[in-house]
């Protein structure tokens, strides 16, 4: 793929703007709270778009288009089952504790609710995950630029990391959040023309459906048996594995996204952040799933005359990961091509910056300040926060190079995510809604849940992965295996936490005020219009999500 001068101008313009945002925000940074927490003065529309954009990284954009091509319309489950309900639950039930407890991070909430060791366990695993995740984003970006544009791998890594470093180092979390919103609009508006022209070229949605196996155009109809749908998943596994354990584990406990709601101006805005974010999230399949479905339709013999097909790898198999770049190459002329490539760059950089800013908050507050240097001046922690940003980027670069040596490091990372996030929601669910939950119960539940996840993976095999302990059970897809791992880890954590809590001493009620449901005054909002209230908006979005599932049943 060759770029025109206009395409390079678009890329340079984007780089100039994200760096400029960092320097504009720099003037507002006076304390560690400004740098690491944005001083809780960000408007609702910005926190909501940043909330969704922090999740709109490279794996999301390229990965969901690839899944759309591989699994068809079933990919919408990651949105209409695996995101909206959890985001609404976070807004209605969990933000009052995160925001009301004045915790600066999710691990700090665990410290307030339980104890230091539970915070430490969560903080360390989260910090390691974010650095690896950021590095994988960087690796994927450089690899894509090398394969698609022929750019040098090393130069791509250092330039992208350098730009993210500049705007996160000078402007901290606020700069990352502001750029996430810019990146959100760029990704959505930059990829929208592609969806329109590709759909038009394929003859419209009815033609796409007519040219595809019905299993690729129905979300639920073929889920009665795991063998009859392309994902190889039974609907009960989907609802419990994805819709409950993985979805709630990610959206309700992962500090990377929750941090965007925690920096809102007030309690009402913090609750409405994930709820308003659910609106674009609900529509996101139009941008990231539909192109994949159109691509697979265009690759069918009946539409061969259109001249598009999904690229194949050396073995002749469809290389689904390249679906989006190949669509851009096929449909975008010079000029718009620069916009499309910049949208991809934005998704990689957004994912990386989100991870780095979450990493520096958790490292500074929950590891450095909690375990190493406790009572120093705010200026000291601001300096540390900045240094952690620098080291976070350097670690990410290191991880990106490590990734070049392992062809399955991304699979490994996703697995670690399911080990850590899968059981975590059980800890929060019990911690927030059952005041009898003890610190020892939470710690051992979390630890054994994670161990159970590893053992389950070691005893199951899917697509040649897993089974490193004993090949006891075969699952038809890697995704199905991830759901099983998450479900087992959640159940083990849930029951271990209950059993250990029943035999250990809970904290007195006075210490749990504002941290558990039964001892916390519920926020009341009066005088606002219905769309400014949390519950009516939540109900409306639940109804809309159910309707979408019915329409694409």
């Amino acid at each position: 793929m060759k770029l025109h001068v206009a395409d390079y101008l678009v890329i340079i313009l984007y780089f100039a703007f994200v760096v400029a945002v960092g320097f504009i925000i720099k003037k507002r940074i006076r304390s560690s709270n400004d740098f690491l927490n944005s001083s809780k003065n960000i408007p609702l529309w910005i926190t909501s778009l940043a909330f969704i954009s922090a999740n709109l990284g490279a794996q999301e954009v390229l990965g969901m288009v690839a899944s759309g091509a591989k699994y068809g319309i079933m990919t919408v489950h990651f949105y209409w089952v695996g995101a909206i309900f959890a985001m609404i639950f976070l807004g209605v039930f969990m933000m009052p504790f995160y925001y009301g407890s004045h915790a600066r991070s999710v691990p700090e909430y665990l410290f307030l609710r339980f104890d230091e060791k539970t915070r430490g366990l969560n903080a360390i695993t989260f910090a390691v995950m974010t650095v690896f995740s950021s590095g994988i984003s960087l690796f994927a970006l450089a690899k894509l630029l090398e394969v698609v544009l022929g750019w040098d791998f090393d130069v791509s890594i250092w330039i992208a990391a350098g730009i993210v470093l500049i705007y996160t180092f000078v402007g901290g979390l606020t700069s990352a959040v502001y750029n996430e919103v810019l990146q959100f609009f760029l990704i959505v508006l930059g990829l929208s023309p592609l969806v329109i022209v590709a759909l038009q070229d394929a003859g419209g949605w009815e033609q796409v459906k007519a040219n595809l196996d019905p299993k690729l155009t129905h979300a639920w109809q073929y889920m009665g048996s795991a063998d009859s749908n392309p994902m190889g998943i039974h609907f009960m596994s989907l609802i419990f594995g994805l819709g409950f354990v993985m979805s709630f584990g990610y959206w309700c406990t992962d500090f990377l996204v929750v941090q965007r709601a925690m920096i809102a101006k007030n309690m009402n805005a913090s609750q409405r952040t994930p709820i308003l974010a659910a609106i674009p999230k609900m529509l996101m399949p139009l941008i990231v799933v539909l192109p994949g479905v159109i691509a697979i339709a265009l690759s069918q013999p009946a539409l061969a005359g259109k001249g598009y097909s999904i690229p194949t790898d050396a073995a002749g198999n469809m290389d689904y990961t390249m679906t989006l770049p190949s669509l851009l190459s096929h449909y975008y002329p010079s000029g718009l091509m620069g916009v499309g490539i910049t949208a991809l760059l934005a998704s990689f950089m957004s994912g990386m910056a989100g991870n780095v800013t979450a990493f520096n908050s958790v490292f500074t507050y929950d590891i450095y300040q909690a375990y190493f240097v406790k009572k120093r001046s705010d200026r000291h922690y601001l300096r540390v926060g900045k240094m952690v940003t620098l080291f976070g980027i350097l670690f990410s670069i290191g991880t990106a190079y490590i990734a070049t040596s392992f062809n399955n490091i991304n699979d490994f990372l996703q697995l670690v995510f399911s080990f850590v996030n899968g059981p975590l929601f059980a800890t929060f669910l019990l911690g927030m809604f059952w005041k009898r939950t003890t610190a020892d119960g939470a710690f051992w539940g979390l630890l054994l849940g994670t161990v159970a996840a590893a053992i389950t993976h070691g005893c199951t095999v899917a697509e040649g992965k897993g089974g490193w302990i004993a090949e006891l059970y075969t699952v038809s897809s890697g995704m199905g295996q991830a759901f099983i791992v998450a479900m087992v880890s959640w159940v083990v954590n849930f029951f271990t936490t209950i059993l250990v809590s029943l035999v250990t001493k809970p904290k007195p009620d006075e210490e749990l005020k504002g941290l558990v449901y039964s001892l916390t005054e519920k926020p009341k909002y009066t005088g606002e219009k219905w769309y400014q209230k949390v519950v009516p908006m939540a109900i409306l979005l639940i109804i809309l999500t159910i309707l979408l599932n019915i329409i694409f049943f």
Binding site: H4, L186, G335
Partner: protein, 61 residues
């Protein structure tokens, strides 16, 4: 005036206005960019950019 320029909505608006200028200017000046999709997208970006510049963002600065 400076405060207004540093609001996020204005920054995003300016970004899309300049993007539109590149697409529309390229369409007018060079054959390599003479595609209908460039002009349609350019006009859409321009409209969005102007809207974002005019809208109130609610930031305190």
């Amino acid at each position: 005036m400076y405060k207004r320029i540093t609001e996020l909505s204005v920054i995003i608006g300016l970004f899309f206005i300049i993007l539109a200028v590149i697409l529309l200017g390229g369409y007018l000046l060079t054959d390599a960019l003479k595609f209908r999709i460039n002009i349609v997208t350019g006009v859409a970006f321009l409209a969005f950019g102007i809207f974002m510049v005019l809208v109130k963002s609610g930031e305190e600065g």
